[in-house]
Amino acid sequence: MEVTLLNINSLGYCLRQSIVSIYRNFWLVLVTAGIIAVSLSVFGGLLLIAVNTGQIIRNVESNVEIAIFLYDEANAEEIQFKLDNLVGVRNSTFVPKEQGLEEFRKSMNMAIPLDGLSGKNNPLPDLFRVKAVRAEIVPELAREIQEFPGVEYVEYGEKVIDILNRVTGWLNTVFLVISSLLALGAIFLIMTTIRISVLSRQEEIGIMKYLGASNSFIRFPFILEGMVIGWLGTLSAALVLGVVYYRLVVLLKQEALAFFVQPVTDMEILLPLLIGLLVIGTLLGGLGSMVSIHRHLKV
């Protein structure tokens, strides 16, 4: 009497069984999916915040300017050309000394008479304002430009750049720590939930073993079930996140704030996030089930 441990009949049976099981354990399935949904919503929400914070910082960074003060005898056009061809420069503007004086006057107060300083008496130099593509390269860029002939002095918000870089680094660390903790927490939660749900069927698993069921035969429906649960949970999480995020985006767009805080709406960034969540959820459900029933599979 030769017996195989798993054949095509068994596979069909397992598949049917998963469906019946989800149907009969409806409530438990719902709760488990709910817990996964909550965990992943929080986690996904954090990711969205991180993505947006990154965007804001990049926004601020890209507004950092390098001011290039020229000698009176400098060739502005040549420098302009050189700047335009310099890697890392986003754009550059020439500010003649007259404009500089005007800006100064404005910044002080219109009512103050500076007429005596116009024309020949203007003590200010011509200058270029340059924006870099990223904040990190500003110091490097400044050093290079300093070497250009005709450039007297290069200045940039050293302090601001410094602070920005530190803040970015700090935020990255914080986000990494928080999201690792959250991820660990979510995994722990999901595993525990599945484990408890398996625990409630411990007896059943035992009986199956007594009837000669192999581990894969017992495991398979559980894993399928876990994957469906994980997938359901993630889908709900994605839905919740999507709706909340969409509302926030609309809200922000209406606010004058929109310019300052531009929410990421790029599908190129958001779609992988969504798909990633779905994959993670499904895997978590499946793997969670697998690990959880492992301890109950001893003969």
């Binding site: 059943e204 009986i207 009837l211 003969v299």
Partner: protein
Amino acid sequence: MIEFRNVTKSYNNSNHPAVANVSLRVERGEFIFLVGPSGAGKSTIMKLLFREIMPTTGQLFFIKRNIINFTERDILKYRRLIGMVFQDFRLLKQKNVYENVAFALEVLGQSPRKIRQKVPVALEKVGLTGKEKAFPSELSGGEAQRVGIARAIVKDPLIILADEPTGNVDRDNSKQIMKLFESINENGTTVIVATHAWDLVDRMQKRVIALKKGRIIRDEQYGGYATEY
């Protein structure tokens, strides 16, 4: 086919062993009653045979192979040869009567067609036709017990181990179940029944092994529930 060699089983938190130094040979095709007072060790012997538990000391052979050294795969294959009726039924709560019986065949990887043929036959034999859709929680004590019996016989096992198969069943049903075991036995299946149904044991005059406090106190080829020497 089966041999116990000085088997002793002591449970962890118990001062005297549940089965003490039992030696025993069972030939293929035998019909054996295991009798003895409550707590004598009948179920423990059944569980040892089924390899649900391991002996504390001693050896246990099945067709010359030592059960104790079985790998997990061996155990599964071994159990598929055995039809076990548990004293506490052990039905799958989440499955209905039909599915519970069918499960024994699903495990063997039998085809859906074969399963659809065999399950109703087994249910008919134990008198449960019409209860297919009921879940274990919806059965009377005797009905649940008979589902367990149907599950054991449906797979045409090499050995039937039945622990108290008629405890919750009425007189007529009990007789019928014993007859069922007898006819299965006549087809070559080895049958071991642990029971308190003294009238049936007396009537059937099969081999009787009597236990008391874990020891074999009697082993008669054609005996009754309480035959005196």
